[in-house]
Amino acid sequence: MSRTLNQAATRELDDLDRAIINQLQGGFPVGDRPYAMAAGAVGADEATLIGRLGDLLADGTLTRFGPMFDVERMGGAFSLCALAAPRDDYERITALVNAHPEVAHNYERDHALNMWFVLACASRDDIPLVLAEIEAETGCTVYDFPREAEYFIELKLSA
């Protein structure tokens, strides 16, 4: 999976791909035939839109299509966490961290703290439990950086 995520685009995006990326990052309708309802906005018909979304998911241009849940509004919790994995043990530690379903994203970064991951838990109380498990499994100290204030988030990426 990480291989697909890191690959360069295998084909150029066409107008429909760009319209989907630029116009369907939010606001997808809730209705009996939502793809038919959304298709006009991107200049396609229902079957074409459904087919193209499948292609974009399959080739990794989209990582997901559907509702984006706010874990915290559902009573759950997020935290950004980091650890310093020894270089020669990096792949093993990656596998141990990724094996936790609560790990939603995980990135390698060029810093002494070289592995940064986001935990999404159903309850705030689960975060220290998962952190303790990861520390026990990997032998690495895990630093957590829960957000104390959110200064603005908007969808700004365009194709």
Binding site: V30, T63, E102, R109, S158
Partner: protein, 174 residues
């Protein structure tokens, strides 16, 4: 763990929360690519499509669902340089300056987070995406200019590899 309370605002009753929780679980990997995706979820849960749509609309209204749509992979859009800029900002000024950083058009996320001294001195995180590291660095200089004297130190952590990226996956813990 008290399961019902962990998933929804307390204004909803337990039965509602159970149905909403089932709905979240069936939608967390994404919406099915079929002409009637809400109908498909309704069949799976054994409830009506109208009820599924009403519940989804309620979750949109109260913010449990942020939005419904496509999540692009930054890398595949050419945003191959992903710099997490981190800043040690004067505590007295961060809540004034943070929203101004977050409002910059190229900053996609911006948070105040705790320091972990002595390992980590930075309390402001601003994610900057660009087509190259040079572009990211140019944008980071704009952040620096905005923060001015309030900054004591800063760094940019580039992501060198995506190790995992999935949607929300909720798991019950025993």
């Amino acid at each position: 763990m008290n399961k019902p309370e962990s998933f929804a605002p307390p204004s909803l009753n337990a039965a509602d929360i159970d149905v909403d929780e089932s709905l979240v679980r069936s939608l967390q990997s994404g919406l099915q690519l079929v002409p009637q995706p809400y109908e498909a979820v309704a069949r799976e849960l054994g409830i009506g499509a109208d009820e599924v749509m009403a519940r989804i609309r309620r979750m949109l209204d109260d913010g449990r669902i942020r939005r419904i749509g496509a999540v692009p992979n930054h890398y595949r859009l050419g945003y191959t340089a992903n710099g997490m800029s981190v800043w040690d900002v004067d505590d007295a000024q961060i809540d004034t300056l943070g929203p101004r950083v977050g409002a910059l058009p190229f900053v996609t996320h911006s948070y105040r987070r705790p320091r972990r001294l002595p390992v980590w001195r930075y309390n402001l995180f601003a994610m900057v995406h660009g087509h190259s590291r040079a572009e990211v660095e140019q944008k980071v200089e704009e952040v620096r200019a905005l923060l001015g004297d309030a900054v004591r130190a800063s760094d940019i952590l580039y992501s060198t590899r995506i190790l995992k990226k999935t949607g929300l996956r909720l798991k019950e813990r025993g």
